[in-house]
């Protein structure tokens, strides 16, 4: 029997298709990835079978497990309007730059007296800013003010967006542009803490609330 000869020299494999694929995937993931803004609180949401995706124009109140209240308004333009009204009402001064910066932030939570200090904190350190959240006591209900200004501001920007979409020739539904009210609670939050926030919403006659939940499979009978 003749010996099998091993081929000499370096075996070369054509890697081009693999590299093509790798770059295709890189491009795909880069384009589809959406980065979350830094959140000052981590919230573990309960799960439900609901498959409704979170809408675009939202007012979101977050409650952490200690019952601290945080607030977020998605639209930058509306945020600015809301903040200016709040500063006016509570007679607090904030520089133009900080107002601009605020409009691009996400969730925040502090009382109005703490706000200038909060805004002067470095962005990375805001998560550990010592605060009790937005006050909701009946004597000093700042959340009520935030929400009422935010609802008006978000309503205005929603209407503008609706008019713009109409000019472009599409047939938009006004319903899609109206601000939605979202409540994000931790699994371990006491319901009575959430009820305080819900009552603030109801005070403003905003009765259609949405709870943020993570998806769960629908049970088969």
């Amino acid at each position: 029997m003749p010996k099998i000869k091993m081929p000499k020299g370096t075996p070369s494999i054509d890697m081009t298709p693999m590299v093509d694929l790798a770059f295709l995937l890189v491009t795909f993931f880069m384009l589809t990835a959406s980065f979350r803004n830094a959140e000052p609180v981590t919230v573990e949401t309960p799960s439900s079978i609901s498959d409704k995706i979170i809408p675009e124009n939202v007012l979101m109140v977050t409650l952490d497990k200690d019952g601290r209240v945080f607030f977020n308004l998605s639209d930058a333009e509306a945020r600015k309007e809301m903040l200016n009204k709040m500063l006016q009402k509570y007679k607090i001064g904030l520089s133009e730059e900080k107002v601009e910066e605020f409009s691009f932030m996400s969730t925040f939570g502090c009382n109005m007296q703490e706000l200038p200090a909060y805004m002067n904190t470095e962005a990375a350190k805001r998560a550990s800013f010592p605060t009790q959240g937005i006050p909701t006591d009946s004597t000093k209900n700042e959340l009520l003010d935030w929400l009422s200004f935010a609802a008006v501001a978000a309503g205005n920007t929603g209407r503008t967006a609706f008019e713009e979409a109409k000019l472009k020739g599409a047939e938009p539904k006004m319903e899609d542009f109206k601000p939605k009210f979202i409540l994000r609670v931790d699994s371990k939050t006491l319901y009575k803490d959430a009820q305080v926030v819900i009552d603030v919403f109801r005070e403003l006659n905003l009765n259609n609330l949405n709870f943020v939940t993570s998806a769960e499979a629908i049970p088969v009978n």
């Binding site: 790798a22 995937l25 309960p46 799960s47 006491l190 319901y191 709870f211």
Partner: protein, 211 residues
């Protein structure tokens, strides 16, 4: 190895200028390494699923003093306390004023799927709606009715006399998780009328006896 391999480069000056011959292989290893590094990074960090929301309509606040909430036919009341869930059917009858079946007593339920679970209870109470919903679903699947008609018909079903209406009451120890779980069960059982309300003094007393 990371350079463009050149060969020749000899013929200066003399004769015609020729395009360089030979292989122009670029070593792609570092680039591929980087590509895979990025790929791994994006695969691991990207989140595809946007969070979902569960809509829930709260009853409007009663602004006129003395006005009582409307009476509900075929009601079921769930009371959440800590991680426990209790329920009773129909109206509340205190011990001093017992109804046709005596005073109201709280029964305990659970969030499993077995005996005495909220899911089983609701499935039996709301059988009428669930049965009719199946028929509606079929019609929708076969495109016999439009989406809007489907929604309207479903809505009509859930407010009928035969459909169960649920009141949710919570005490100070109730967690949001059990509240959301309960609302979720109600949505699974296609209960349309859900009203989170406050505990009455009579119910508070019953709850105290249970704990």
């Amino acid at each position: 190895m990371a350079q463009i391999a050149e060969s020749g480069g000899g013929d200066h000056g003399k004769g015609k200028k020729r395009a360089k011959k030979g292989s122009t292989h670029v070593d792609m290893t570092p680039m591929v390494d980087l590509a895979f590094l990025l790929l791994t990074f994006f695969v691991l960090t990207s989140t595809f699923s946007k969070p979902k929301v569960m809509p829930l309509n709260y009853p409007a606040k009663i602004t006129e003093p003395g006005k009582k909430p409307p009476k509900v036919n075929n009601a079921a009341t769930f009371i959440l306390s800590g991680d426990k869930v209790y329920f009773y059917r129909n109206e509340f009858y205190p011990k001093s004023k017992p109804g046709p079946n005596g005073p109201t007593e709280l029964e305990e339920a659970n969030f499993g799927s077995g005996e005495n679970s909220v899911r089983k209870l609701l499935a039996s109470w709301n059988e009428y709606v669930i049965k009719n919903k199946v028929a509606l679903d079929k019609q929708l699947d076969k495109k016999q009715i439009a989406d809007t008609t489907y929604e309207r018909k479903l809505n009509d079903l859930t407010v009928k006399r035969e459909a169960v209406k649920v009141l949710i009451k919570t005490d100070d120890k109730a967690l949001c998780k059990s509240f959301i779980d309960l609302v979720d069960e109600l949505k699974i059982a296609s209960v349309g009328v859900i009203a989170p309300t406050d505990l009455s003094p009579g119910e508070k007393e019953l709850l105290k006896e249970k704990n």
